[in-house]
Point group: C2
Chain length 293, copies 2
């Protein structure tokens, strides 16, 4: 919390799409920011964000974006994290805290250590568990983070005041903030988020490659609709996530393959009892689950 | 269409849950039925259906259910189809047409040939592409079939008048009726419905078996919610479907495994270009798809 009494008087956001744009709108809704500065690769996207009132000003250079800035949020696809951190390092002042919204955290921590060096303690790694298949500044909304979890994976070098600043900003956005080590975050997210995205993409790709693809899509119903909703997600963003969290994702993919092989064997030998028991376990767990994210 | 001018004056429904109960309510809404008779394994379920107004009368024996009946719908889990058909055969009058709502059709056709013999032409195999994770007569609703596809897989022995009768009943329920051969139906449904159910059950079962299952479920978000919605489906019903459509399902599971292996290899060798191309194919197909079912 800065001298102005609000978590971040001036915020610079790299990547003004669904995640970054919603952060801006949520902070504005809470009166928790005075000025939001947008930075990004595509001038056109920044212009749209400006027109929509998502950001207040466009910065063309990192120097301009970082000048007098209290908080920087990286909300671009995660492959850009090392590049952005390297670009802002020369302009990073003591009073500026940097956080990110990337879906993978071990790689973000490694990138921050490499790019920020002795200033790594100014980087607080974070991940809001929120999103949607729509992207771009048009998809941004002030309530995206209401009641949603934000996971911070603090570094030993993070001073408590910096953690509090990032936590206060996310709480101003309506989110709940929780902490865990980065490797644990990456395993959990590989399991409940990254793997399902791979599985949904794989199903749609499989059907798309079938000779009778049109007929199949034609008779797909509500189950298919919900199961594959996440297969409409941004290819670039999910390419980056899959590669950034490669090791944890491969572990989960292999565990999933084993489960699918067990199920396949039950079907092949027509083992109704085993199949029903496995379905019942899943069904019960799913019925008792309520969205925490 | 019977002499009364409505598709089926008296309808007997075996299995008065979501599917059978919604058929009853939709026919009633359309004024397309005079009396709905419920039959089932569990007396308690039938009593609830009666109390809810889903059915008008409970039949205790097949003889009672079939007496003066225009149309019979089998809407019990598909493993019961042979048993039910065998039980009604002695009471099947010329004026009665039998159809079913089973998710697998080759097995229903085989069961009908075996159980009904020379009367197999009275059986019109059908499958409404509609449903939901809720079940029981409480889940039944009159609009479940509005704008949804119903697939008929006619037999060579079906007289046109019987096909028309079944088609008229489903159209009265608000559905669109389409026809295709039973093997094609089973392949298409294995691909767009049965396989996704297996995949969703497998993911939830995998997470449930992890040491840190509670933590994982705790951080699962909206993507997980939609992807696994169908994993809350009835274990008994999906056990039956998996076994009834075993051959077609195994073919699709193997094709899916190959696709997943391709994707895994791209991730393992950090082939971002191939991964993005595959995601983009799926994403584009999914975005251009609209629910037909």
């Amino acid at each position: 919390v800065t001298a102005t009494g609000i978590p971040a008087a001036r915020v610079a956001i790299f990547g003004v799409g669904l995640i970054g744009g919603s952060f801006a709108l949520a902070l504005k809704r809470a009166g928790a920011v005075q000025e939001v500065i947008g930075v990004g690769r595509r001038r056109e996207t920044l212009e749209r964000a400006l027109t929509l009132g998502v950001i207040d000003r466009i910065a063309v250079t990192p120097a301009e974006a970082l000048d007098g800035c209290d908080l920087v949020l990286l909300a671009a696809p995660v492959a850009q994290t090392p590049v952005i951190l390297t670009s802002i390092k020369p302009y990073l002042q003591d009073g500026t805290t940097v956080t990110d919204a990337g879906s993978t955290k071990c790689d973000a921590v490694a990138a921050a250590r490499m790019a920020l060096g002795e200033r790594v303690g100014q980087f607080v790694p974070g991940h809001p568990i929120a999103g949607g298949e729509l992207h771009g500044p048009e998809a941004a909304k002030a309530d995206l983070y209401d009641q949603r979890n934000v996971i911070l994976t603090p570094l030993p070098e993070n001073e408590p005041a910096r953690l509090m600043q990032v936590q206060a900003a996310w709480e101003a956005c309506g989110a709940r903030v929780r902490s865990m080590p980065a490797p644990q975050h990456d395993t959990v997210l590989a399991s409940v988020s990254h793997l399902p995205h791979m599985l949904a993409y794989a199903l749609v790709a499989q059907i798309a490659e079938a000779d009778d693809a049109a007929l199949r899509f034609d008779f797909a119903g509500a189950g298919f609709r919900d199961f594959t909703r996440i297969a409409a997600s941004s290819p670039e963003m999910w390419r980056d996530i899959a590669l950034s969290n490669r090791d944890a994702l491969l572990v989960e993919m292999d565990a999933y393959r084993s489960m699918l092989e067990r199920m396949r064997a039950m079907i092949e030998r027509s083992d109704g009892a085993a199949l029903e028991a496995l379905f019942a376990l899943a069904s019960k767990k799913r019925m008792n689950w309520t969205p925490g994210g």
